[in-house]
């Protein structure tokens, strides 16, 4: 049931999609995100939308998802997709038969030529505990060529602090199974600055992850998101959060340790061997267009007239199952295209990225006073050694990465 208030705040996106499709200048959308909202158990730090114990709703969900995908597909204009990312939740909790159904739906509605040729990226988030040869074979046959393993930590004590339920030994097993199934690329997700964690313990986690032979690591400092159990426990005084200086030490250690292993930082929290960056995430961070399906999934669609549409699917599974306007669910947080907002978003993410940004190109269509203000901020950040310039792009320096939020706020304050 949707409350009247939610109904009031939510919007149907069907007319927007129709309008975009009618625009002859629309460029084909080449990226797709799918959200699978199921988990075994809710990890205490997690604020993603997911439900536990919903086996009976997996089938209706997969059916409904199929309708949404079909409704979105025309926006790709049958051009081959460059990236697909299936996240959650725990996508690998979906029963194998439903995976088969989902992958078939994708094949039916989208051009997966590049993916099947291994020229494009198809990632799935995987809980190592759910890995099985049967599932991985299905994924591989459907075109999946990259798995992102949620390890978080290899230390049972810290996994317990996070209330993350899996046996650390399942991670190497899952990585090996992926290889066997022919899924070449794996990434491992880790969390640091867990209360009580020491620098040597974090180093041990990193070492374990690196010996798995992955070519991509995501290392996130634990963030206390509002409305999570972890934050409630923090407020209650159950534990002391990690000291700021130790957290900075851990982060700097991460950068160095990864570099030594040949994984370069290409975003604040992401490290990859050359060519193994996550193309899907890079699409987000460079404000490309992407389609998003499933409850709570966020879309971004560039408008041919400038700026981009953003919205987020209503995050409740029940709403998702029952709201259907020509295949589209209702959305919240709708933001119509606004070139100046797009500019803020681009600057906001550029300061977090190794590839940085080409400022001249970015400001091409921006009015003079705004462009000058942005240039002044950039010049100041360059002078302070937070940014550097190479190949006519501005990029964060080592110290710039550390204060990326501050840099972003400085840009936002002149926009």
């Amino acid at each position: 049931m949707t409350t009247p208030l939610q109904q009031l705040k939510s919007t149907s996106t069907a007319p927007i999609v129709r309008q975009l499709l009618d625009d002859p200048e629309l460029s084909p959308v080449r990226c797709l995100y799918i959200h699978i909202p199921f988990c075994f158990h809710k990890c205490h730090y997690c604020d993603f939308y997911s439900l536990v114990d919903t086996r009976d709703r997996q089938q209706p969900f997969t059916d409904r998802l199929g309708q949404e995908l079909a409704a979105l597909a025309p926006l790709t204009q049958n051009q081959p997709l460059r990236t697909i990312f299936i996240g959650g939740g725990t996508p690998t909790l979906l029963q194998p038969a439903l995976w088969t159904q989902l992958l078939r739906t994708l094949d039916d509605h989208f051009n997966l030529a590049a993916i099947h040729a291994n020229d494009a990226e198809f990632s799935v988030e995987c809980n190592p505990e759910t890995a099985s040869p049967e599932l991985f074979d299905i994924l591989r046959a459907g075109g999946v060529n990259r798995l992102s393993m949620g390890a978080q930590s290899f230390n049972p004590r810290h996994l317990k602090t996070l209330e993350r339920w899996h046996d650390p030994k399942s991670v190497p097993r899952a990585v090996a199974l992926a290889k066997t199934a022919g899924i070449e690329r794996t990434s491992v997700d880790l969390i640091f600055a867990i209360p009580g964690q020491t620098l040597p313990e974090w180093d041990a986690d990193l070492a374990t992850a690196l010996t798995l032979g992955t070519t991509h690591l995501s290392c996130y400092a634990l963030t206390y998101e509002p409305n999570t159990a972890m934050t409630a426990r923090l407020k209650r005084g159950d534990f002391t959060p990690t000291d700021d200086d130790l957290e900075a030490d851990m982060y700097e250690h991460t950068v160095k340790r990864c570099a030594d292993a040949g994984l370069d930082r290409y975003e604040v929290s992401n490290f990859a061997a050359p060519g193994h960056e996550c193309a899907h995430n890079l699409a987000y961070w460079s404000q490309s267009s992407w389609l998003a399906a499933g409850p709570s999934a966020s879309s971004h669609l560039l408008d041919p007239q400038g700026g981009g549409w953003r919205w987020k699917n209503q995050p409740r599974l029940d709403d998702y199952l029952h709201q259907n306007d020509n295949g589209h669910p209702r959305a919240i947080d709708l933001e119509p295209p606004d070139p100046s907002r797009l500019l803020s978003e681009q600057l906001m993410t550029a300061v977090r990225l190794r590839e940085g940004i080409d400022l001249d190109q970015l400001l091409e269509n921006t009015n003079e006073p705004t462009a000058n203000a942005v240039r002044r901020v950039a010049a100041d950040q360059l002078a302070r050694g937070c940014l550097q310039e190479s190949d006519s792009r501005l990029r964060p320096t080592d110290s710039g990465f550390l204060v990326a939020d501050g840099l972003a706020r400085e840009f936002l304050s002149v926009l």
Partner: protein
């Protein structure tokens, strides 16, 4: 009820907080049938709620009831509330001025407390007859005999004169009423034809303007009279005259010895001065009644709007709210100030700490404002070298206004007489605390078997710092204290300047004793360090006296200011988060490129850890 002067009794009820003053007043209303038994529970409260909703002031400062004594004679009893918290002795004393007697309520299980003593002393000093009452005798822990001895020992009121009562069950109330009629003297005779009435309270009412409470000593007041306020020399015409019984009851006139209120189209409390004498314009008295001194503001602090838009609307909102508040409370002062750090605000003067807290809370609650308050300081008398070698005295109640120390000959500060009541086992700790706070020991008196009353002279500046909290802490809450300002005395006082990132911050400057300056400065810097977020650069915090650094702390530069996640595709969320952080920063006050949160200005107030 026309009643002759001989049968009028004017009295107040005084007590230490929670000893049962209000409950006893209710019981008296009930026993004199001013309210029915049912009303005593429901009606009274209901009508008060109604009044509150309509924004009419509910407080009746004086209640008049009729009582038929044992001998069949009818009496008019006027009992005058001692308004507000008894922290403001001046408010109690103004009520006592209108009375011949006082009922001193002492909790029979708690015994004589500091406020009991101070209030009793006030009543003695005004020559009032006192009836000591031991309340709460229904409690299992009541020790009326022992407490009666305490009353005798400490206050010199005969133990056998104490009346044991329970304001809860009504036990002893008839005896109390007899004593009121028998022991309290009637009002004195009118001294002449010229009307003189003492103003002992005034409240503001949205509908009628100022309602003024008076006690008539000589002559009469009637509706239609043109009255003159002798002190302010202003005239008004009485449009309404009445009493609270406790329902509002109009009367045609108030005669000698009577108590009541009048309304006279007076628009603000500034036009009425408590303690002033009212006389008739047609036949004015030559001398006013012995009034009392106007209340003196002893504690000062700044109020600033927490937000400040460029147009200055926030400042204007604050000004408007302060003006409204002053309609209700004429005993605080305010004048505009400007501070480098906090922008435009007001320097405010209050009677005491509690008064300051109440004003701040009312501004926030009733006027929906967010206020930044600076640490309170007392008012100093400073002797400075004037022109031509003649020294002159100036009043300083803002540390930043203290002239250059080269000019200063002497700084004098307000000193209080403090009565402290403590269980014997804590005496050592309290002595130590007092000496630590520059107190001068005066006397010590035994109270019962278990407690003593200590009297000290303590600088007000120490009291407003953390004296009371410390006293409560050291005595597990059993110690009580009360104080009144007694004199000004000079001491070796210095101004500590606080520098943040090498910039002096006026709003954080403080005056304190030289011997305590290093300690005070260090504590303040430690608190500041916790309040100010790390910045991109290292921030030195320094305390200095006349350019000499006496303490320092450093806020290390932060090393990391970046959230781990960009929230996948949910860019909206990330952007909103950054914008919110930016707004938070905009709302902070910025000094020398350091963002200082508003709480930091209160850091000086925080007496939690030392």
């Amino acid at each position: 009820m026309p009643i002759d002067r001989e049968h009028i009794r004017n009295f107040s009820i005084i007590a230490h907080i929670d000893h049962g003053k209000s409950t006893l007043a209710d019981r008296l209303l009930q026993a004199t049938h001013a309210v029915s038994d049912r009303e005593a529970k429901e009606q009274l409260l209901d009508s008060m709620d109604l009044e509150r909703e309509r924004g009419i002031t509910i407080k009746a400062s004086a209640v008049t009831v009729a009582h038929t004594a044992d001998d069949g004679q009818e009496y008019m009893l006027n009992f005058i509330d001692t308004p507000g918290h008894v922290d403001f002795n001046y408010e109690v004393s103004r009520a006592l001025k209108a009375c011949e007697g006082a009922i001193l309520v002492v909790d029979a299980s708690q015994g004589v407390e500091a406020q009991t003593v101070v209030n009793a002393l006030l009543a003695f000093s005004q020559d009032l007859e006192i009836i000591p009452v031991l309340n709460k005798i229904d409690l299992p822990g009541a020790r009326p005999d022992e407490i009666a001895m305490e009353v005798e020992q400490v206050l010199g009121l005969a133990a056998e004169d104490c009346i044991p009562v329970s304001a809860k069950t009504g036990a002893g109330i008839p005896e109390l009423l007899s004593a009121i009629c028998k022991d309290f003297p009637p009002p004195r005779e009118s001294l002449g034809d010229q009307t003189r009435a003492l103003i002992f309270d005034a409240i503001y009412d949205d509908y009628r303007g100022v309602v003024t409470y008076v006690r008539v000593f000589d002559g009469r007041l009637k509706v239609g009279d043109k009255i003159r306020m002798m002190g302010l020399d202003r005239t008004f015409i009485i449009t309404d005259l009445g009493k609270y019984t406790p329902k509002q009851t109009r009367v045609k006139e108030l005669g000698p010895g009577e108590t009541g209120y009048f309304v006279a189209a007076i628009k603000t409390l500034g036009d009425v001065r408590v303690g002033d004498t009212v006389t008739l314009d047609s036949n004015p008295a030559t001398d006013p009644l012995a009034g009392y001194e106007a209340p003196r503001q002893m504690v000062f602090c700044d109020f600033y709007p927490a937000t400040s838009d460029k147009k200055g609307n926030d400042f204007e909102d604050l000004r408007e709210a302060m003006e409204k508040l002053q309609l209700n409370d004429s005993s605080f002062t305010f004048q505009p100030v400007h501070s480098e750090a906090l922008g435009f605000g007001f320097r405010c003067g209050f009677l005491g700490l509690l008064h300051m807290d109440i004003a701040q809370q009312r501004l926030e609650r009733e006027h929906n404002l967010e206020i930044v308050q600076t640490a309170p300081t007392v008012s100093y008398k400073v002797l400075v070298r004037g022109k031509g070698g003649i020294s002159e005295e100036i009043e300083v109640h803002n540390p930043a206004d203290l002239p250059d120390m080269g000019q200063v000959l002497e700084i004098r500060e307000p000193i209080c007489n403090v009565e402290i009541m403590v269980p014997n086992e804590y005496i050592g700790d309290i002595m130590k605390l007092c000496l630590d706070r520059r107190a001068v020991y005066k006397s010590q008196q035994v109270v019962g078997d278990t407690r003593q009353m200590l009297t000290f002279e303590v600088p007000l500046a120490e009291i407003i710092y953390d004296f009371y909290d410390k006293l409560k802490g050291l005595t597990s809450g059993y110690g009580t204290m009360d104080y009144e300002i007694a004199l000004y005395r000079s001491d070796e006082l210095v101004r500590i300047d606080i520098l943040i990132n090498n910039e002096p911050v006026e709003a954080l400057a403080l005056i304190c004793h030289k011997d305590r300056s290093v300690q005070r400065g260090r504590v303040l810097l430690q608190r500041l360090r916790k309040q100010i977020d790390r910045h991109q650069f290292e921030i030195p915090l320094q305390a200095a006296i006349g350019g000499k650094i006496i303490a320092r702390e450093t806020i290390k530069a932060f090393r990391k200011d970046v959230t781990a996640k960009c929230y996948g595709g949910d860019m909206t969320r990330k952007r909103k988060l950054l914008e919110k952080q930016k707004k938070g920063k905009d709302r902070m006050k910025s000094i020398g490129s350091v963002n200082i949160p508003q709480q930091a200005f209160m850091a000086v107030l925080d007496t939690g850890d030392e």
